[in-house]
C-alpha cells in the first residue's frame, strides 16, 4: 500500500531543494519534463492524441456533432471542452460529478482556444439559424503526475490541428458516423494558443510541477499565449490565477516572461510533431 509523504515534510524538502535552484527530481526551476506525442489513439475519433509530459499522460479526442446555433450566434458553430480525471490515472481521483479541479481545467483550456479565435466558428455554420457543427474536445487522464492544465491544453491544440470533418450525408442531413473526409477544421493557425502555468512556492517561481510540487504550491498563474503575424510580440489571450497566496507585480511579470519563453519552445514542438505526423500518414498511404 502506498504511503503519501506528510504535506509539511514534502513542502520543506521542496523548498530546501528550490533554494539551491533544484527540484526533487533534479530539474532546474524553469526546466520542463520531456514531452512525447502520439497521434491516433482512437480511429473512431475525428482525431486523437496522447501527450506524455514526464510521467503525466493525457489523451484527447475530437468528436463532432450537429446542433441548432445558440441565440445571438446564428451563424456560428459551437465548442465544448470536457476533462475527465479518470480514477484509473490516480488514487486521488473519484467517480461521480466532475470535481471543481476537472471543471476548472476544462474551462481554462476552453477559454484559451475560444478567446484567441483559433477556431473560425463562422465556417462551422451549415445553415444560418438552423444547423451548425459542434466540436467536442474531450480530455481524459491516463496517469497524473501534475501539470494537467498544460498537458491537456497542448493535447487539445494538437488534436484540433489534426482533426478532419466526418462525412455529412446530404440526403438525410445527418453525420455518416465512422466515415471521414480529408477536410481539416477551419483553424487560424497564427492564433493557436499555447499554455504555460507558472507556480509559486515561497519566493520561488517554477513551471511544470510534478504532482507533489503542485499540491504544496502557494499560487499559480496559467497564461495562454499566441503570436499573430500582425503583431511584433506575443499576445496573452487568457489567464487564470489559482491559489490563495497573492502575487507581486514583479512575480506576475516574471511569470508572463517565462510563459512567453515556453510558448516559443512549445510552438516549435507542435510544428515538428505535426510535420512528423504528416509524413507518417503519407507513408501509410503509400503502403
Amino acid at each position: 500500500m502506498r504511503i503519501r509523504m506528510p504535506y509539511k515534510l514534502t513542502k520543506k524538502n521542496i523548498l530546501e531543494a528550490m533554494s539551491k535552484g533544484k527540484r526533487l527530481d533534479g530539474r532546474g526551476l524553469l526546466e520542463h519534463r520531456p514531452i512525447e506525442v502520439r497521434f491516433g489513439v482512437s480511429k473512431n475519433a475525428e482525431s486523437s492524441v496522447i501527450v506524455k509530459w514526464g510521467k503525466t499522460e493525457v489523451a484527447c479526442g475530437i468528436k463532432m456533432g450537429l446542433q441548432e446555433p445558440y441565440t445571438g450566434h446564428e451563424s456560428e458553430g459551437t465548442m465544448t471542452t470536457s476533462v475527465e480525471l479518470l480514477p484509473l490515472s490516480s488514487p486521488n481521483f473519484e467517480y461521480g460529478q466532475p470535481s471543481i479541479e476537472a471543471v476548472e481545467i476544462a474551462r481554462v483550456i476552453d477559454r484559451g482556444i475560444r478567446e484567441s479565435r483559433f477556431i473560425d466558428f463562422e465556417k462551422l455554420c451549415i445553415k444560418e439559424g438552423e444547423k451548425v457543427w459542434s466540436i467536442y474536445i474531450d480530455i481524459a487522464t491516463i496517469n497524473d503526475d501534475g501539470n494537467l492544465i498544460d498537458a491537456g491544453a497542448l493535447a487539445a491544440v494538437l488534436a484540433l490541428r489534426t482533426a478532419r470533418f466526418p462525412v455529412l450525408d446530404e440526403e438525410t442531413g445527418k453525420i455518416d458516423y465512422g466515415n471521414f473526409t480529408d477536410k481539416a477544421l477551419p483553424l487560424v493557425n497564427e492564433n493557436m494558443p499555447l499554455t504555460t502555468t507558472c507556480y509559486k512556492i515561497g519566493n520561488h517561481i517554477f513551471i511544470d510541477p510534478a504532482r507533489e510540487e503542485e499540491d504544496v504550491a502557494d499560487a499559480r498563474l496559467t497564461i495562454e499565449i499566441f503570436k499573430p503575424e500582425s503583431q511584433k510580440v506575443e499576445m496573452i489571450t487568457a489567464m487564470q490565477k489559482g491559489g490563495e497566496m497573492p502575487l507581486s507585480i514583479e512575480e506576475a511579470e516574471k511569470m508572463v516572461s517565462e510563459a512567453t519563453k515556453m510558448f516559443k519552445k512549445l510552438n516549435i514542438l507542435v510544428e515538428e510533431e505535426l510535420d512528423k505526423a504528416k509524413k507518417d500518414t503519407k507513408k501509410k498511404k503509400k503502403e
Binding site: S42, N44, G61, E84, G178
Partner: protein, 237 residues
C-alpha cells in the same frame, strides 16, 4: 454444421480464418501511479486497466471480515466510438462492472485479504467490438501485475455465430450482420488452468446443439490469449 445446411457467412470480412483471433498486443506497467496496470489491444479494440489496492475498505460497514472485495469500474472514453458518448455511468457500464467482478473475483485469493477492497478501473480507448472481453483481459493482467495472489489467469473472448458459422473474436462489422440467422454474440471468459467459465453472456440466437461448439471455440481462443498475457507479464519481470 450439418452438411446439408450451408451458411451464408463463408468468408470473414477481415480475411481471418473462422477460428482465428485478431492480432493482440499486451503490455503491463502503463499507469505508473497504479499498483498494477495493463493495456490490451485486440485488433482495433483497446482496453487499459489499472488496479489500486488491496486497501482498507471504507466505509467500515462495507467491509467483509471474511474476505476482500473487488470493485470494477468500466467506462468508454467519449471518443472511443464513432458517435460520441457522454462520459459517466450508464446502465450498460453498470452491468459490465457486475459481470466483470464475477469473472475476476473467483481467481483472486480474496480470503487472504479480509476487510480490504481492490479497485479495478477499465477504460476503453478505442472500440471495435469485444470491449468487455478486452477489459477483462487487461484487468486480469493488471491484477497479476499488482502482485495480488491469484489461483489462475482469466482470459476472455467474444465468440460469434454469423448466420450458421461459428467465429472467434467478433468485430463490429460482424456484430452488425443481418443476413440469414444474423449475428449472435457470446462473450465468455475461461480460467487458464481449470478451464472453467467465469463470464458467459449471449445475445442473438443459437441452436442448442451448437452451443458446445461455441464453448470449444472460446476455450481454444482463450488459450491463445492466455499465452500472450503470460508473455507480457514475464517480459515485465
Amino acid at each position: 454444421m450439418t452438411k446439408d445446411e450451408k451458411s451464408l457467412y463463408t468468408k470473414r470480412s477481415d480475411g481471418r480464418a473462422f477460428d482465428s483471433i485478431r492480432e493482440i498486443s499486451a503490455k503491463v506497467g502503463v499507469v505508473p501511479n497504479a499498483d498494477g496496470s495493463a493495456i490490451f489491444a485486440q485488433g482495433d479494440t483497446i482496453a487499459i486497466a489499472s488496479v489500486y489496492g488491496p486497501k482498507t475498505h471504507h466505509p467500515k460497514n462495507q467491509q467483509n471480515p471474511e474476505k476482500g472485495v473487488i470493485r470494477v469500474h468500466y467506462g468508454m472514453l467519449s471518443f472511443s466510438v464513432t458517435e460520441r458518448i457522454k462520459p459517466g455511468v450508464s446502465r450498460r457500464s453498470q452491468e459490465i462492472n457486475q459481470v466483470t467482478e464475477w469473472a475476476l473475483s473467483n481467481v483472486v485469493m480474496l480470503e487472504e485479504l479480509p476487510g480490504t477492497v481492490i479497485d479495478v478501473h477499465i477504460n476503453i480507448l478505442q472500440a471495435n467490438a469485444g470491449t468487455r472481453c478486452a477489459g477483462i483481459n487487461a484487468a486480469a493482467m493488471a491484477l497479476a501485475h499488482a502482485g495480488i495472489p491469484m489461483k489462475e489467469m482469466v482470459s476472455a473472448v467474444a465468440i460469434g455465430k454469423m448466420d450458421k458459422t461459428i467465429v472467434s473474436d467478433v468485430t463490429k462489422e460482424e456484430e452488425d450482420m443481418e443476413e440469414g440467422e444474423g449475428a449472435t454474440d457470446i462473450p465468455m471468459a475461461f480460467l487458464s488452468h481449470s478451464e472453467k467459465i467465469t463470464l458467459l453472456q449471449l445475445d442473438g440466437r443459437i441452436q442448442v446443439d451448437r452451443f458446445g461448439e461455441a464453448l470449444e471455440a472460446g476455450k481454444k481462443a482463450c488459450k491463445k490469449i492466455f499465452e500472450i498475457q503470460k508473455k507480457a507479464l514475464k517480459e515485465a519481470e
